[in-house]
């Protein structure tokens, strides 16, 4: 028994350690930003979408909660940062913090709606919440600028690094730092007792409850946290593009981020980042070739992905990751 306990502990400790492959993954992004400064805006978009996808992966991959309304918190975070900046409080870090808090607070309030009903109910309730918030933003044009959106300028990050159109590279680096900090936090969280109990809830909610896990509280907790992550992603987007518009709440935002997580594979945290990179690059290439019809190819990709079985695709992605990032894949297998 004690030998078993020791083995489990050793296993958990091993999972905690950062492998060279993971470090290489993050260093590669830094190198990429400096190597191709002309595409810094695209890289920035990938990083922000990656953070957004990470937020969905927290609830979908870790806790098994489906959502088609993650854009609600994305939009709230973006508008929080934009409204603050527009009112003169344009320090980026402060904006991020408020975006996270506001997103998280709305997540906390709406989370209890997800505890009842089937997956279909959850998909529709989350979608409904996003639509309601979008309509709220639309109606309160005095605050949000309505259909015109909000434009504003940001102060340099920490008073040193200007971001925005003149500082695309700085913007990408800023997003990368924020993404890395939040990713490390999520990674730590997934290995914590809280994260392990979420896995238990995902696998079998009834049994997890019988084991004494407060399933409702765990689910509300992780949903609020994911909402805060999405809030930060939205705030980052608003700050680095210096605009916030109503389409942030759109249904297609929630669907896109779902697609990113599905492409990369849910549940091992890197999936959202990889999916975001694939999705954004694909979108960039296709919409460069056929600007009006790129949706068609995204739709076709979805259909093919589902028909071939997304588990199979995800395991393929994981196998690719395993050759590139041995440790992350092993974590996925263990999680």
């Amino acid at each position: 028994m004690s030998a078993n306990a020791a083995r489990i502990e050793a296993h958990l400790r091993r999972r905690e350690r950062w492998r060279w492959s993971e470090i290489a993954f993050w260093l590669a992004i830094v190198v990429l930003i400096f190597a191709v400064p002309s595409r810094a805006a695209l890289i920035n978009e990938i990083l922000i979408s990656g953070l957004f996808a990470l937020s969905l992966d927290l609830i979908l991959g870790l806790a098994g909660v489906v959502s088609l309304g993650q854009a609600a918190f994305y939009g709230v975070g973006a508008y929080a940062a934009a409204i603050l900046a527009n009112a003169g409080y344009n320090d980026p870090t402060f904006g991020l913090l408020v975006g996270a808090l506001l997103g998280g607070a709305i997540g906390l309030v709406t989370a209890p709606l997800l505890l009842r009903g089937s997956d279909l109910t959850r998909l529709m309730v989350t979608m409904g919440v996003a639509l309601i918030l979008g309509e709220v933003a639309n109606r309160n044009g005095w605050l949000t600028g309505g259909a015109d959106g909000l434009e504003f300028t940001m102060r340099p990050v920490l008073g040193l690094f200007p971001i925005g159109f003149s500082g695309q590279r700085n913007a990408a680096l800023y997003s990368l730092v924020v993404l890395f900090i939040l990713f490390a936090l999520a990674r730590r969280l997934a290995q914590s007792p809280f994260g392990l109990s979420l896995s238990a809830v995902r696998e079998n909610r009834l049994r997890a409850g019988a084991l004494g896990i407060a399933t409702h509280r765990r689910l509300i907790g992780v949903y609020a946290l994911a909402a805060a992550y999405a809030g930060v992603a939205g705030a980052l987007l608003a700050q680095t593009t210096q605009i916030a518009s109503l389409d942030l709440f759109d249904f297609h935002r929630s669907a896109d981020v779902m697609l990113m997580v599905i492409i990369g594979g849910a549940g091992y945290l890197y999936g959202g980042l990889i999916g975001a990179a694939v999705f954004i690059v694909l979108k960039d290439v296709i919409s460069g070739a056929t600007p009006e019809y790129w949706e068609f190819w995204i739709g076709a990709l979805l259909v093919v992905l589902v028909l071939t079985g997304r588990q199979r695709v995800a395991s393929l992605a994981r196998r690719v990751v395993r050759t590139v990032l041995p440790n992350a894949a092993r974590q996925a297998g263990a999680a």
Binding site: V66, L68, L113, R116, G117, S118, D119, L120, T121, L123, M124, V125, M127, G128, V129, L131, I132, E135, V136, N138, R139, F251, H252, A255, M258, L259, I262, E292, Y293, W294, E295, F296, I298, G299, A300, L301, L302, V303, L305, V306, L307, R310
Partner: protein, 287 residues
Amino acid sequence: MLTVLFDGVAYGMLLFVLACGLSVTLGLMNFINLAHGAFAMLGGYVTALLMNRAGVPFLGTLPAAFLVPAVVGVALERTLYRRLYGASPLDQVLFTIGLVLMAMPIANYLLGDQPQQIHLPAWLQGRIDVHGVGIGVYRLFLIVVCGAIAVGLQSFLVGTRFGARLRAAVDDPRVASGLGIDVDRLFAATFAVGSGLAGLGGALAADVVGGIDPAFPLKFMVTFLIVVAIGGSSGIIGALVGALLLGVLDVAGKYYVPSIGAFIIYFVMVATLILRPQGLFAKGDGR
């Protein structure tokens, strides 16, 4: 007051024809078909094109607006949809969103992004005055046609052998197939009728929503889902009451309290899903 109620009922009737197919497929196969609106769009386009390019009169186009989506629907059902029965809701949602994303650019590619207008014949335009209540002739037409469809569907479901089989299969597909009912074929037929009705609804709705454009499936997807959420997925009556409730609330809300009018349907949906996750008119716990 009565005019608003009348418009609301007409809108609700329209929603019923558009959404009842969705409600039946959801109840029968537990299948979430977010691409339902694409069939409605197809029906609307059929009517618009036949009228504008071939000069067919409005009423003459309606059978085609039913048949074309029904045929396309059954073809898609046999080739693609059936692979996903029993898949997780997430897979079904992703798949049907994929179909919507494909349908919209196809429509855009073939017909452009401008709305295709439908010009109603003169006898369907204008208003009549009944005891001081202004009634739009087309609204009245909608209520009569959609009401007839609702009555027809209900008596078909209650009165025929096919209807009895369908109700049995909705109640419990496994037991139904154990009793020798070919649930698979039943579903294909139901899917065809549901898609056809969506197409007919799309044709009838074209005038009310200001023309059919490629964004139609996405714009109305949420509305269909709300109808199903309120009515539950158990049958025609639930969908009818849900659609009427939604239609009246939506029109009345936008008329009397325009500042919050657009929220009302969402609030109704979220409230319904919280209080009765299986819909207001579901039997017992549902499934």
